[in-house]
């Protein structure tokens, strides 16, 4: 990481923000050997499914790929009554090529932003977060604070997906790690907010 050296006093520390995102999540899985087909069908419907280790986003949704032939599609949060494949309107035509599973409740989503957010994450993230090596557009699955975390560099900061059951544990850990860097109060943001450039 090429973050700045630690400056002398807390007053000099620029803030770090941790925001919570509410969104729907659909896990899309290609059947063995059908990934190309699935990607084409999705593309025909205007949804870009990225290659492994990358994200693809439009104004109101974001897809990421951290497992071969599998994607997480982040969308606006579902209505409580909705469930299953009807979350993806183009799905019927793609069903032969794979499966779509609603995971909206499975993930808690945080956005870490601020010039020193990568330094904060280095307290628990074993990946090399040098901006040159992990620039906007990349995603990875790893372990932080002893729990699985999906990490993606989005235009607005670092997106962190953690299992719903460990979300509080992870949030508390992140808050403790970020505290010396000047943690700012959190707000609730949307998928669209992820895809805007970081304002600083």
């Amino acid at each position: 990481m090429s973050g700045p050296e630690y400056p002398g006093s807390p007053a000099e520390l620029p803030g770090v923000r941790v925001d919570e995102c509410t969104m729907g999540v659909v896990e899309i899985i290609a059947r063995p050997g059908r990934a190309g087909e699935l990607v084409e069908i999705a593309r025909g419907r205007g949804i870009e499914l990225p290659t492994f280790g990358r994200i693809a986003y439009s104004s109101d949704r974001l897809a990421l790929c951290v497992r071969p032939d599998r994607w997480l599609l982040l969308l606006a949060p579902p209505a409580p009554a909705a469930s299953g494949p009807d979350r993806v309107d183009w799905w019927e035509s793609a069903a032969q090529a794979g499966a779509a599973v609603d995971q909206s409740s499975a993930w808690a989503t945080l956005l870490l932003a601020g010039p020193r957010s990568r330094e904060v994450l280095a307290r628990g993230c074993r990946l090399d977060l040098d901006p040159l090596l992990f620039p906007v557009g990349l995603a990875a699955a790893t372990i932080m604070a002893q729990v699985p975390v999906i990490l993606a560099a989005v235009p607005s900061g670092l997106l962190l997906l953690t299992s719903a059951s460990t979300a509080r544990h992870f949030r508390e850990w992140l808050a403790a790690a970020a505290k010396p860097f000047g943690l700012m109060p959190q707000s609730i943001i949307s998928v669209a907010d992820l895809c805007r450039s970081e304002s600083g």
């Binding site: 492994f52 280790g53 951290v66 497992r67 074993r126 699955a141 790893t142 372990i143 699985p148």
Partner: protein
């Protein structure tokens, strides 16, 4: 500590992986009999040498990897996805 170059995720710490045993042990056909299964489950050479192992990348891509590791030095010589590893084996060994 091992660092394992996952063909999908890149170089990752051992903590992200789960060891899944000897990759040279091939499961016998279902009617292979007790002796074949006994050997498959229990009999290991425990050699001081290069060794093929299965590691599941549970903390990353969740793919099963075939890793060639030296049991003395822990050096890792090759890593490939299980699909690639199995397709490279003779049909009889699959």
């Amino acid at each position: 500590m091992l660092r394992i170059p996952c063909p999908w995720c890149g170089l990752r710490d051992e903590i992200e992986f789960r060891y899944r045993g000897d990759a040279t042990a091939i499961r016998p056909a279902g009617d292979g009999g007790v002796d074949a299964f006994f050997s498959y489950v229990y009999e290991r050479d425990n050699r001081r040498d290069w060794h093929l192992e299965w590691w599941l990348h549970t903390g990353g891509c969740r793919r099963l990897l075939e890793i060639e590791r030296h049991t003395l030095t822990h050096e890792i010589r090759s890593v490939r996805d299980s699909a690639e590893a199995l397709s490279a084996r003779p049909a009889a060994a699959r």
